[in-house]
């Protein structure tokens, strides 16, 4: 159990973390989501006692981090920033951490095998790939067999196999009743692993909810239509009190309507439909909408603001697996 209460961190006049209060419960994977620069890493560093909060409090199992004796037995953390001396072999790196917390040496070899680094135990991490370094960091987190685990952007820069491995590991750890707290700036990644969601933007809490209700509340559902006579169709929809909008590639999108109703409406007016499909906006869009006001570093191409229809992707940059990509031999 991790509890934050009014946690605040200011650097000069800039507020990195702003009165955060939430709890992280055991038994589920809790996703910690926010755009880059939202204050996720700062929050995690304060949880570990590395950074001192300007105000507020964070407690691990009811104690401050520096009140924990042998903290590796309570909480294991993988931070985003590298925290390994490149000149000390993988095994010795884990050994010195283990010794400081009274963890038996046998456990060092155990976790090395667990993360698949047994064969490079005597190698120095300066020659490790990103994925191997990440695995060594995870081995260190698992060293004390802690009940709480914390991962800061664990899939960053990993290959698909590594990503898959970490996802399963986190789910497995949660299923054993542990508290698992994972940060990410990718909603799609969270959707695959997290059951609970804490969203922050510019250091402020934006949402603290289950993944299920987050999806329900935040995803835009609409019906997409294609017809040979779009003008007439539009008139019919408007006459019925609906608000059709322009979709991608000449499609019409209608928010807040049932596909059944629209189908019947078209039939009544003897209109031909080429497509009638209920759509759900991606979670990524929902996340962007939620955090749009708080994104720290906007790119110059504007994101769709709240309420505006999602901009059509320019041809050739479609997301997903379109015919175009297939033709190009992907």
């Amino acid at each position: 159990m991790i509890e934050l209460e009014g946690l605040t961190k200011r650097y000069g006049t800039k507020t990195a973390v702003d009165r955060l209060s939430f709890g992280v419960r055991p038994g589920v994977v809790t996703g910690f989501l926010g755009p880059n620069g939202a204050g996720k890493s700062t929050t995690m560093r304060m949880m570990l006692g590395l950074d001192r909060p300007t105000a507020g409090d964070v407690r691990i199992d009811g104690k401050h981090y520096d009140q924990l004796k042998d903290p590796l037995n309570h909480i294991g953390a993988l931070l985003e920033a590298k925290s390994i001396h490149g000149g000390r072999t993988a095994r010795n790196h884990l050994l010195c951490l283990a010794q400081s917390n009274g963890i038996p040496t046998r456990r060092v070899d155990e976790v090395l095998d667990l993360v698949g680094l047994g064969s490079v135990a005597k190698k120095r991490p300066s020659g490790f790939s990103l994925g191997m370094g990440q695995r060594l960091g995870i081995a260190a987190a698992l060293l004390g067999d802690p009940r709480i685990l914390m991962f800061d952007e664990p899939v960053n820069g990993l290959d698909p196999e590594g990503i898959h491995w970490i996802r399963n590991l986190m789910k497995h750890l949660a299923s054993e009743g542990r508290t698992v707290f994972v940060s990410s700036h990718l909603m799609s990644e969270m959707a695959l692993t997290a059951e609970h969601l804490v969203v922050i933007g510019r250091g402020r809490l934006l949402a603290d909810t289950t993944m299920e209700s987050f999806i329900e509340e935040n995803s835009r559902t609409y019906v997409r239509l294609r017809a040979p006579e779009p003008e007439r169709l539009r008139d019919v929809l408007v006459a019925d009190g609906l608000a059709p909008t322009e979709g991608a590639e000449g499609a019409i999108e209608v928010e807040g309507a049932q596909a059944v109703r629209i189908g019947e409406l078209a039939a009544e007016h003897r209109l031909v439909l080429h497509e009638l499909s209920p759509q759900q906006a991606s979670l990524e869009e929902a996340f962007m909408r939620l955090t749009a006001q708080t994104v720290e570093y906007h790119a110059h191409t504007a994101l769709p603001g709240p309420g505006e229809p999602a901009a059509a992707p320019p041809p050739g940059q479609q997301q997903g697996w379109g015919p175009q990509q297939q033709k190009e031999g992907f």
Binding site: L50, A81, S100, N101
Partner: protein, 254 residues
């Protein structure tokens, strides 16, 4: 206490498992001993007029220490800055969040190793040099000689410890090296030679430390203090650096 013992064991593992830091100690040994013996061989064949006074066979054997101390400084810088430049500090404080305990354990482990190497170096350079000096040689049982040899080892250890304290304030290896190295290699020497600054320069840590190595009246340093005072001056420098380092470690975000 049990906690401190565990952390001490961990810090000992840390300092003995990084090759590059161990090389600085090897370098300290070889620089000191080889230069000490070479100088002894050189000065032995000169007359008293040529070398500007009677020979202090003990002090001559420590001639390499002004170079060897730089390797000790490098050791002190590396054991502390290695935590920060690699990010290891986050893992270290994650495992031992009691920063005072962490710092104390690191200092004790690294100082123990430096003391071991420092003493071995001091003894080796003394006896090695005496072999070369032939008739002019001193005996370890001569008045003040044993004290000088012990102070030689102590001097190298305290230089490493002083560097650790300074690096704990600066964190960055580049910054620490670029301040400490030129200071001990050039600045301190110049200040010690220039008439106007000599009175102040004698209180610098390395100049005070070198005074500890002299055997009584054979080498005239023209200092306001004796070997005992020299040790106290060095200890004061070390204490100041370590207190500064501790305050920084305690207060700053890691």
């Amino acid at each position: 206490m049990a906690h401190l013992t565990r952390v001490l064991k961990s810090e000992w593992t840390k300092v003995t498992t990084v090759r590059s830091t161990l090389w600085t100690l090897v370098l300290a040994f070889f620089l000191t001993v080889s230069i000490g013996i070479a100088f002894s061989a050189l000065l032995k064949n000169l007359s008293n007029e040529e070398r500007g006074g009677p020979l202090d066979p003990t002090y001559v054997s420590f001639s390499g220490m002004s170079m060897g101390q730089l390797a000790m400084v490098a050791f002190g810088v590396l054991v502390v800055s290695g935590e920060y430049s690699t990010g290891m500090i986050r893992a270290s404080l994650g495992a031992v969040p009691q920063r005072g305990v962490f710092m104390a354990a690191k200092l004790v482990a690294c100082t123990a190793l430096a003391l071991l190497v420092g003493m071995v170096t001091s003894v080796a350079t003394f006896f090695g040099s005496q072999l070369v000096l032939g008739e002019e040689k001193a005996s370890i049982t001569d008045d003040g000689v044993l004290r000088a040899v012990v102070c030689g080892g102590l001097y190298m250890t305290l230089m490493a410890l002083f560097s650790m304290g300074v690096t704990w304030m600066l964190r960055s290896p580049l910054l620490a090296f670029s301040i400490l190295m030129p200071f001990f290699f050039i600045v301190s020497g110049i200040l010690g030679v220039v008439e106007a600054t000599r009175k102040i320069a004698q209180f610098l840590p390395d100049q005070a430390g070198m005074t500890m190595l002299a055997v009584n009246d054979l080498t005239d340093f023209d200092r306001a203090y004796g070997p005992g005072g020299a040790l106290l001056i060095m200890l004061a420098w070390v204490a100041a650096a370590l207190i500064g380092g501790y305050v920084m470690l305690k207060r700053r975000d890691a």
